[in-house]
């Protein structure tokens, strides 16, 4: 259980920071919006309101909104380097194209892609994310460099379908051993999806998650085609099958969940499986249909949002994901009141934290929570006028990512004055271009 990379956070944590005079969107139980200060002590929010006494660091948030960091519940961060490589294609040809490029990837491409993706997320106000990929140990290096909070799901699938060396479930187990006690990284077991996992693979993943005290993250019922083919060959729909073999388990997080019957929605809710809605990716890949969010809400399912990978979005911007989510639901239901701004913001903050089993630690600005905080410049022309009355609407509909000034993770700034502090942005971009050119010419 010794971590691969030494933890160098100790000491830096002792910093006491006050964020002064912001409009604080707390996302607490009563969804209060307050004007005041947020005191951060040793990585933890210690006070919200008027902060007195000595501090090490004062940050002026006058004219700004102070809000909890956004949580991206489904992505493939290392694919950032493949942005714009497979567009205007449906899921089938899209996967063919991306798998072909993916098969040529080396460790350095994965590391560079993950750092680029982390930089993009930090710059657009995302502080935590849930990833699904192979080589998560390499991705973890970039996550540590970037200083984000991450739930890293190692892809588990049938051995004959993967380029991974050795049994994927053993690789995943090794990854959990390495990163099991990390302050910012939580290893997750990620069975790819029913189309790539035999029942034995699925249940081995389930067992690994159970023994290691983590959860499973998987793709589920993303397109009409996939569900139709599965039902035709297996006789059951994917969720029906997962229920039948005893795979469904509380705390799991299922990505997409577009093509579900009402019975399947109820099955997921009853078992405590969260659904990650990925509206941008779903729309772009045109898999057909729209995820049934109103029915999920009616059945008390936990719902959150994800960007999916950069190659099918082609952005990791969770502010945009909120806007796409709200507008796609309204548009498809012919009802402008469906998924109002406050609920969209919940999906990307406190509900997302609940999906990850982390709502005691992150997802809102409340004393005792880890200090994952975003500061947005509301004097940016895209955000004005912002008042306590329209702040939630502006966060969801006005596309504030361009106005993100500072991003703090676990008490430390990873973005300050609109710049990523953990690496030279130009170098990150230049490496991404070099990798992309090599991958495309390979």
């Amino acid at each position: 259980m010794t971590p691969l990379i030494p933890f160098h956070f100790k000491g830096e944590y002792a910093l006491k920071t006050v964020i002064r005079d912001g409009l604080i969107v707390t996302q607490n139980e009563s969804r209060e919006v307050l004007r005041g200060d947020v005191l951060v002590d040793d990585g933890v929010i210690s006070h919200v309101g008027e902060a007195k006494g000595d501090v090490d660091q004062e940050v002026d948030a006058g004219g700004c909104v102070v809000m909890p960091g956004l949580i991206n519940c489904h992505t493939h961060v290392a694919m950032a380097v493949m942005r714009g490589m497979a567009d205007d294609l449906g899921l089938g040809p899209f996967l063919e194209r991306t798998f072909a490029v993916d098969a040529r990837r080396k460790a350095k491409d994965i590391e560079a892609g993950a750092l680029l993706g982390c930089a993009e997320m930090a710059r657009s106000g995302t502080t935590s994310f849930l990833d699904l990929y192979y080589s998560e140990d390499i991705i973890a290096r970039s996550v540590e460099k970037a200083g984000l909070r991450a739930y890293l799901g190692w892809a588990v699938l049938d051995e004959e379908l993967t380029t991974q060396k050795g049994r994927p479930v053993d690789n995943c187990a090794r990854f959990i051993e390495q990163f099991g006690n990390h302050p910012l990284i939580t290893p997750v077991v990620a069975p790819q999806g029913v189309y790539a996992c035999s029942d034995e693979t699925l249940m081995a993943a389930r067992e690994l998650a159970r023994t290691k005290g983590t959860f499973c993250h998987y793709h589920l019922s993303e397109t009409r085609h996939e569900v139709y083919e599965y039902k035709k060959s297996r006789g059951r729909r994917p969720v029906e099958h997962l229920a039948h073999i005893g795979f469904l388990s509380g705390g799991d997080v299922a990505a997409h969940c577009v093509w579900l019957t009402l019975n399947e929605v109820r099955d997921l809710a009853r078992h405590g499986v969260s659904a990650v809605h990925c509206p941008t990716s779903n729309m772009k890949l045109a898999g057909g249909g729209v995820s049934p969010l109103p029915e999920m809400f009616e059945n008390d399912a936990t719902v959150c949002l994800g960007t999916d990978g950069c190659s099918s979005n082609n952005s990791l911007d969770m502010f945009l994901e909120m806007k796409f989510a709200a507008l796609l639901q309204k548009s498809s239901r012919w009802d402008a009141s469906v998924l109002p701004a406050q609920k969209a913001l919940d999906l990307a903050t406190i509900d997302a934290a609940r999906s990850l089993g982390a709502n005691e630690r992150i997802g809102s600005i409340e004393p005792g929570k880890r200090a994952d905080i975003v500061i947005i410049d509301c004097q940016h022309p895209a955000m004005a006028p912002t008042t306590a009355d329209n702040i939630v609407a502006n966060l969801v509909y006005a596309s504030p990512s361009k106005a993100v000034r500072d991003t703090m993770v676990d008490g430390k700034f990873v973005v300050r004055d609109g710049r990523f502090t953990r690496a030279d942005e130009h170098k990150v971009a230049a490496e991404a271009v070099a990798c992309a050119q090599e991958l495309l010419s390979g």
Copy 2:
């Protein structure tokens, strides 16, 4: 025909500027992407390629994309000050709420809102827009201050339905007299829509446009409800009626065009009326259905994009509008190949210029065109990796507005290094907040 506000551009134009070493997305006839320089002389693009010789100003665009400024073909710019005041409402309650606030607006609110909207557009790479509102003479002041290119449509509707003093068509005529010879402002006649204009009002607007050599801009068939009610009370659908009374005319620009039959699409195309697709506003107001773009393309209609007003979007970001347009079409047709990236970019540049009858002057980077140019930092983490292969996809899908570095209109920078150069952004925001608070308390 004396302009209300003196033209103070003369002299500044003499500046010779070279934009060096960018990746130039020309949007010329063959949609070439070139690496090289753009030479701007006296407000006009004089050379694209390698530029030699003395210049007054060198702008380094290494690592950047150089592209034509985006053209927003339907907005109500002065409503920027009403951002976030009427959300999660359908068109009916939305209009009730916005009209109530709108009725309290004074000249200073309109001026402040228009300046804010212009600043937002400039910062997000929009160089030209087509507006529909009253008091366009006041809006023109802010447009001049902001230095944008604008087509300003004065709202013409039945006298008993408006807060305008005097006959709207006479007010519009007076506005055309004032601004008929302006280098950057083109006055337009804007009959509000069939639901607010008698046949007499419509034909008076038509006649005014004809005699003054300009075009008409109007709302058309935005929601199912509106079209259904119109057909029930009048016996014809809106386009059928406009064709019947002889209103349809080449060069006109109709906003929304969602609820059209195939015959109506053909009618518009045959008459040379352009359709402005406003996907974000349509989705947010949930009027039902999706504008039939593929059928418009099949029938050779000219199509462009608009953000609509800030209160129904709530953003004036044309990069986002391209993404919403492409994804909404793909998603609603279950076909990822519908409205590919290149076509989406066309809709916001050269096709938009054609809609405005200005494709000889703007919409692409070609010698002889006015210098409306945007420079985007492709080393921004949201834009990397950008190469000649994926640049068009990145412009449409990666949400580059956050990476807009410089915006030039008619040869002059209105945004430089990410800052609006024409007014203090914090003052613009503070005025917007003051107006919003007064309007809401009034």
